[in-house]
Symmetry: C2
Subunit: 456 residues, 2 copies
């Protein structure tokens, strides 16, 4: 990682220098120091200051970068700036922000702040903002933006360029162009690259592709992310029920969403109520709340294993050494099951596994579990006899249980996520903790059964 450290180091050095200048109230020098940076880096440096000083520096930034930096601030800093700004300044920021960033900002703010900000917007803009705020969370409508370039099919390349040159500076992307009919219905797409290499007199209708991949306003963002991954597009249009284009979603927003979706799966799979709040910013109470529900459910469902052991308690006491293998058997069953459920949950998430593949999964898991179960039981058999120096009857009991435990855990672990998917539940809940709880019970029942058969 030689090269990267170089960049990181430079940012670190810059940060020290910047903090030093701020400390000495040399705000103008501080601003000059950072204004050539990327807006993400500028926002990070300002975010680290106290909000009031941050606002001072922000208001010194040039108009051309201010909105981009603003969009990268955290909510606290954004609110501080809104409070400190004049009506004219708020209007300027709102005009410069991309529509999706504006809506994102408003979603995070208390409603009184939202109302006071909306005062500065034009009536038609206000209507549009309110409409966007109403799209369901995690829908395509809630993440799209309205700054795209649309062309008409009868336009020439030259006319199109003139339009792009005129409007392009305010658009989120100009690299994908949308061709619409007189009713604003999407009839084709075209990349700027195709436009650039085409002769000036060519018509849009002859260059555009009419097989357009699009999303509906109410489609889930995960589905939209799937389209991006499948096709590698730079932007995807969002249409309403009449196929009229209402917005676009760009790849950079989808990258964030892909990351959020993966994080959500990780959390659900670890029996955590999911949240988008970053770990270090979360309060202790908040973190505890998100963990306790599932721990409680799983703890109470352990009553099953408790009752099974209770039923065999006297028998367990009568065979020395029998109880010592319970943790190992339970862990191995649980781990085997979570291997399978994890692969299937992930496969469903990436689209590698489709729900109608359920039988293939079960059949595969069955065969894998036979192989894995036998291998583990052979090793365990010899370990118990030659390392632990216990009777062969116990070794045989443990080995037989291992095979059944691994097989049940793997088949159930492979099947449950698909079943959850079919029941429109999140497959990720069928992960390690839940599978472990199920595997525990089967493992114990099998163990006591084999023990009574083999040891007597």
């Amino acid at each position: 990682m030689e090269k990267n450290e170089v960049r990181d180091d430079r940012l670190f050095e810059l940060e020290d220098e910047f903090t030093e200048l701020i400390k000495n109230k040399k705000f103008k020098e501080a601003k000059t120091l950072i204004e050539d940076l990327n807006e993400v880096d500028i926002a990070e440096l300002i975010d680290k200051l106290d909000p009031t000083t941050g606002t001072v520096i922000f208001r010194m930034l040039g108009k051309d970068v201010a909105a981009d930096v603003f969009a990268n601030f955290d909510t606290e800093q954004q609110q501080e700036i809104m409070k400190a700004s004049t009506a004219q300044e708020i209007k300027e920021i709102m005009d410069e922000l991309y529509f999706d960033d504006l809506v994102d900002m408003l979603e995070e703010m208390p409603s009184n702040v939202v109302n006071s900000i909306l005062k500065y917007s034009l009536p038609e803009e206000r209507t549009l903002i309110n409409q966007f705020l109403k799209y369901p969370e995690y829908s395509a409508g809630s993440i799209m933006t309205i700054e795209y370039v649309s062309l008409k099919k009868e336009m020439t390349v030259k006319e199109s360029f003139a339009k792009i040159k005129r409007e392009g500076i305010d658009k989120e992307t100009i690299y994908t162009l949308y061709v619409t009919d007189d009713y604003r219905r999407l009839i084709g797409i075209l990349s700027l690259r195709e436009l650039i290499v085409a002769p000036e007199s060519a018509k849009i209708i002859d260059l555009m592709k009419s097989d357009v991949v699009y999303a509906g306003t109410h489609d889930d963002q995960e589905y939209v992310a799937g389209l991006f991954k499948r096709y590698g597009f730079e932007a995807i249009p969002v249409v309403d029920n009449e196929k009229r284009i209402v917005g676009i979603i760009t790849y950079d927003d989808i990258m964030d969403i892909m990351e959020e979706e993966a994080t959500e799966d990780f959390q659900v799979m670890a029996a955590i109520t999911p949240t988008e709040e970053p770990y270090l910013d979360s309060s202790v109470i908040f973190l505890a709340k998100h963990r306790i529900l599932w721990l409680m459910i799983l703890m109470i469902s352990s009553t099953i294993t408790q009752r099974i052991i209770q039923g065999y308690e006297t028998y367990l006491y009568s065979v020395a050494g029998l109880s010592t293998f319970i943790p190992m058997l339970m862990d191995t069953g649980g781990n085997s099951g979570s291997q399978s459920s994890t692969l299937v949950i992930r496969g469903l998430a990436t689209g590698d596994i489709k729900p109608h593949d359920w039988f293939k999964v079960v059949w595969k898991e069955f065969r894998v579990s036979v192989l894995v179960g036998i291998a583990l039981s052979i090793v365990s058999y010899f370990k118990i006899i030659y390392v632990d120096r216990m009777p062969e009857s116990i070794a045989m009991t443990v080995s037989c249980t291992l095979i059944i435990a691994v097989m049940t855990a793997k088949v159930v672990g492979g099947l449950l996520p698909i079943a959850a998917h079919k029941l429109k539940l999140d497959p990720a809940i069928m992960a390690s903790p839940l599978i472990t709880t199920i595997a525990d019970a089967t493992t114990l029942v099998a163990y006591f059964f084999f023990a009574q058969q083999i040891i007597g």
Copy 2:
């Protein structure tokens, strides 16, 4: 998901129609049916045929789409086509493929096929291919491509456009332009958008941004993905030790890598030796091999819990009901620990948590675990007394153990992934299965300790 189903349905219908035509050997009609589709969809439809028929259809496709479709085939279909093609055809495919797709294809093929393909390339191209094949796996060099547009700082906007128009069709992206000096060193970047809205006579040096974010050829792909996520770029340049630009990486390749990296983490966290092979395409032996190693290690390390129980076996027998809570305590400890380790592993992967935050993590986990531990132990206490109708001394023992089990598991679960990161190991190995094994031992020791103190 109304709108999406529409598209999926159309593809399904098309597939039926296409298969029907193929069955009746109406290859020409089949080709006409699909050639207007997106190249990803065309490749998928052809991939589903047997390789020979696939090759027939492929060779009927127009030159303009053929290479794009080819890049989307699976390895088997690519090899089949290479075998069936004439020298001239192979040369054409190679010329049309983007360099990164070409290298990807060659990496997957047996070396004799690679050699016979390389025969058709020019000597300088061959040298370059060999150089690319030598970059370490998962490095920026191994995923970059060479088709970018470079400009000189003294060029005008008009001259730059002429160059883009001339070269653009063969470039992976023309939307980010790279400014280099006479030694091919990267001195600035510029977006096509900035070029389009600028006056024709403006000079590149006045438009370009010299604060360029770049990666080194040997940087890890995960680091590069981090740059994309942080800055939202469409492409990132890759430079060598002398800061000469040698390639670029585009957002669509990074999306695949983000997904692969997340999948790898999921696998490692479920105690699976990671692989990029899709689940349904993997053989049973392959799947078993990737699961058995960790199961074996974890099974053998359970010897510790086995010995702990062995040491207390007589004591365990002497208190009725004591053994029945072992599964619940172990599972709760394991689940608590994997909640913490999952959040920290994911935080490290997304960059929300930095290794130097280790103390913050420990302190947070400590406080969360106190809250969660107390809540669980109170519920468990009353459940044991009023539902299970067991003695208060057992209830108290279980409750005290729960607090210690949750606290140890959470603090250790939070700390171990960071420790692994510092030791340059993958933090993801410190996940559920390993934490469970560690939590099991502490939980049992605490359980027997409290039992002897409280019950006697």
